[in-house]
Each structure stands twice: as structure tokens, then as C-alpha cells.
């Protein structure tokens, strides 16, 4: 599996944990600490899958997704959110997100979903 994954997460500890866990399975894992740098990174590496948090400084996850979709309409996303209320989830899904995971996340679940999404690439 030579798929590229981009993880956008502003909290350093979580970002590093996710990177460590993903690196055990996927060889190419890149990170960014907010939407803005995530977008820059995206343009540089063109990942197959983007995993992003929503609430971040400078540019939030949903804004970044909109901008990426302008570049690549079929881009795969997994969104990690802390908001469990339905209204919020509905709003996120309307943006054409493939998967929405609510914190605290189960890594096995996250990895399974990632594998599934990357199978079709």
C-alpha cells in the first residue's frame, strides 16, 4: 500500500499519536497543524486521503475542505469532530464528507475506514 495520508490536527500530542499509529500501517503519512498549512501541504503532496479536525486556528477544517474540493472534487476525507450533536453532524455531511468520526476516536475503526477508502484509489 503506497497511499499518501495527510493528517491535519492542531493539537501536537494528538497529531503525533495519530502519525505514529498510521505510520505503523501506512508508509507515507504527512501532517499539518491547521487548515491553512494543511492546504499548502495538500498542494505539495497530493495525498489520497485527508484526515482532519474541524476546529483549528487560522483556517478551520471545513473551510480547508471546501478549498481542496475546488482543486479535486473527488478527494476522500475523514473528519474528526468533538461535536456529537446531530445538527452539527448534518451540517458536516452536507459538505460531502465520506466519514465523520466523533471524539474520542477508536484508532482501529479509523484505520479500517482509511483502508476501505484507499482500496478504491
Amino acid at each position: 500500500m503506497g497511499n499518501r495520508i495527510l493528517i491535519v490536527e492542531d493539537e501536537v500530542l494528538i497529531r503525533e499519536m495519530l502519525k505514529e499509529i498510521f505510520l505503523a500501517i501506512f508508509p507515507e503519512v504527512y501532517t499539518a497543524d491547521n487548515g491553512e498549512s494543511g492546504l499548502l501541504q495538500y498542494n505539495r503532496i497530493h495525498p489520497d486521503l485527508v484526515i482532519t479536525d474541524i476546529k483549528m486556528r487560522k483556517m478551520d477544517g471545513l473551510t480547508m475542505i471546501d478549498k481542496i474540493k475546488e482543486i479535486n472534487e473527488t478527494q476522500k476525507f475523514i473528519v474528526i469532530t468533538a461535536y456529537s450533536d446531530e445538527e452539527h453532524q448534518r451540517r458536516v455531511r452536507k459538505q460531502g464528507i465520506d466519514h465523520l468520526l466523533v471524539k474520542p476516536i477508536d484508532c482501529r475503526n479509523l484505520i479500517d475506514i482509511s483502508k476501505n477508502l484507499l482500496k478504491n484509489v
Binding site: E11, L13, E20, I21, A24, A82, Y83, P104, I105, C107
Partner: protein, 420 residues
Amino acid sequence: MEKHKLRILFVEDDDLMRETISNILSKSADEVFLAENGLKGLELYKEHKPEIVITDIMMPEMNGLEMIRKIRQEGIPVKIAVVSAYSEKENFLRSITLGVNNFLIKPISYRDLLKVIDDFANVIFMEKKIEDERNQRFQAQEELKKAHVELESRVIERTHELAVANQQLREFQETLQDKIEKSVAEIRMKDHIMMLQSRQAVMGEMIGHIGHQWRQPLNTIGLLTQSMLFSFRNNNLTDEVFDERVSKIMEILDHMSVTIDDFRDFFNPNREKTTFEADRIIRKTISFVENSFQKHKITLRYEKEDDCIIEGFENEYSQVLMNLLINAKDALVHNRQDNRKIAIRLSSQLGQSCLEVEDNAGGIPEEIRENIFQPYFTTKKDHKGTGLGLYICRTIVEKNMSGKIEIRNTNTGVIFTIRI
């Protein structure tokens, strides 16, 4: 007064004399009874009870004086005149002792006879009048007595009625007192329940905030734990890595415990008045809601112009601010798409602390502005509000801490002002 009937008994043994006098008497009297001796005279008297008796003295069978004695024994003040001659002096004296009222001297003159009868008639008339008056007076006295008795019994009756009414009044007062006490207790209970309901509503909201606040650290703990599992499976879980992860997890858990403590402190039913710094309580309250306000894209700004020390209940003060912030948040989310703002200002004015909470959620219609502090009044839709929040705020500020809470509209929203 009607003229009384005048009846005369005339007793005379001489037939001619009896006839003659009888004719004269008939003209003055209504009725005349005639007898020829005392015995017959007494019988007629007993039978008819005439008003006047005129009698001769010397008569067979029973003489006039004997008859008079017997008549007198009847006890009726009948008017009696005797007919006698001057020569019969003895008779005059005996007549007087028998209570004879008048004398006619023989030979009887027509004039004298009429005068005697006339005098008797007058006396009878006068006596009758006196008797009538006495009767009337007696009757009046009786009536008076009766009225008096009646009055007395009515007084007794009335007194009794009054006593009963008094008793009823007393009982009524007692029941009223009971009712009032019961109502007061009910109102207190209701207030207490409202206070609890409102506190529960705030608590629910806070649990939401805490849940949100916790999601991030829970997520981190989850990842740290799972990363240990992955490292272990990849055979690179060294002692250092293990140590580092566990201490990181413990650090996060400690931080979460603080949130629990804050939360517990907030709901600690501490009823002791203390002095506290308003600034500290405001910052603590803001920290509870900050995260969820960010989620709703609400900018929360806090400015402290002066230090303010308040005497009262710090948890309740925090509850008031929490209520106002939640209301502002709900209004902003409902009414505005962007640029949602809440500004909190703390200053000291005229020796009082002045806390202002301003939002730009569009304000409140003037016609309901007066009602918003009423219990169970809410403008929130879909049963989101209990309608108790602002009522409890006012109770806390004005009753429990002798302060004042006010609301006024601005161009873009409302400002709540709390002075304590």
C-alpha cells in the same frame, strides 16, 4: 268614653209610692228594678247588679238597712241612697256606718230625687273614668313590663348570637391564619422548587459544556492508550515510551479532575454569605462556557475596569451570570448568522459593583420587556426554556443579595445590568 248604662233598683213597700217614683226613675235610668221589701230587693240586686240602689228603711220581711248590709257584703261599690223621714234619726246614723252614699228625706221631692241620681251618675262616671285610666295605666305598665321582658330576652338572644358570631369569626380567623400559613409555605416551597428547576437547567447546560470540554482530553487519552498497543504489537514499546505515555495520561486525568471540582463547587449548596472577588467568579463562569461558545462562533469579550468585592453567595452570583450568558447564546444562535458577540464589563459605580452583559442578538420587544422576569415566562421555542432563568436571577440578585437587575435594549441587542 261611652256613657255608662245606668240601672236602678228601687225598694219600697208602699205600692203607690213605688209606682210614682218608678215613673220618675224611668226617665233618668236605662232600666228600673222594683221590689216591695228587702228580701225581694236583695234577690233582684244579686240577679242584676244595678249601679244604683234606692231603698226605704221600714219594710216587712227584711228592712232596708239589713238589705244594705247584705249588699255591702257583696263587696261592690254600688251607690246606695236611703229614703227616710227626719224623725228617724237612728236610721241616719246606722246608714252612715253601713256606708250609704246619700239620703232622701220624706216626702221625696222630684227635684231632690233627680239630683241624687244625677250626682250618682256623675260619681259613677268619674269612678268609671278613673277605673278605665287605672286599667289603661296598668295595661300600659303591663305592656311596658312585657316589652322590658321581651327586650331582655332579645338582649340575651342577641348576646348569644353575638357570641356565636364571635366564635365563628374566631374560627374563621384561625382557619384564615392556617390558610395563610399554608399558602406562604406553599409559595416558599414553589420558590424552592423553581430554584431547583432552574439550577437543574443550568446544570444540564453545564454538563453539556463539560462534556464538550472533556471530549478533547478523552480523545487524547484514547490515542495515547491505543498508541501503546500499536507500539507493543510492533515491538517498539520501550520503557521510556511506556513511562512517557502513562505520565501524559495521568497529567490529562489530573486536569480533568479540576473541571469536576469546579463543577462540584458551582453546585455546592453553600448558603454561607462570603466576600468574594467578582472578577474571579466571572472568569470561572466564563471558563465553563467558553468552549461551547466558540463552537457557536460567539466572541466573548470580558473587560474589568475596577476590582469589586461582593458580599453574598458566590455560587449564586455565578449562576446569574451563567444564566445571562446562556440566554444570550440562545438568542444569538437563533437570531444571527454571523458576528455573534457578547461583552461582559465589570466596574464600580457609586460604591456598588456593576456587572453588564451585552449581546447583539437583536434585543427584546418592548411589550414583553416587563414580563421577562416573571416565572415560567419564556420566548424560547420547542420547550427549550424553563421560563425560570431570569426569575431566579432576579430572586438571587434582589432578594438574596439586596441588589438590582435591569434590562434595556440597545441598537443591536440588550444589556443586562446587575448592581450589588
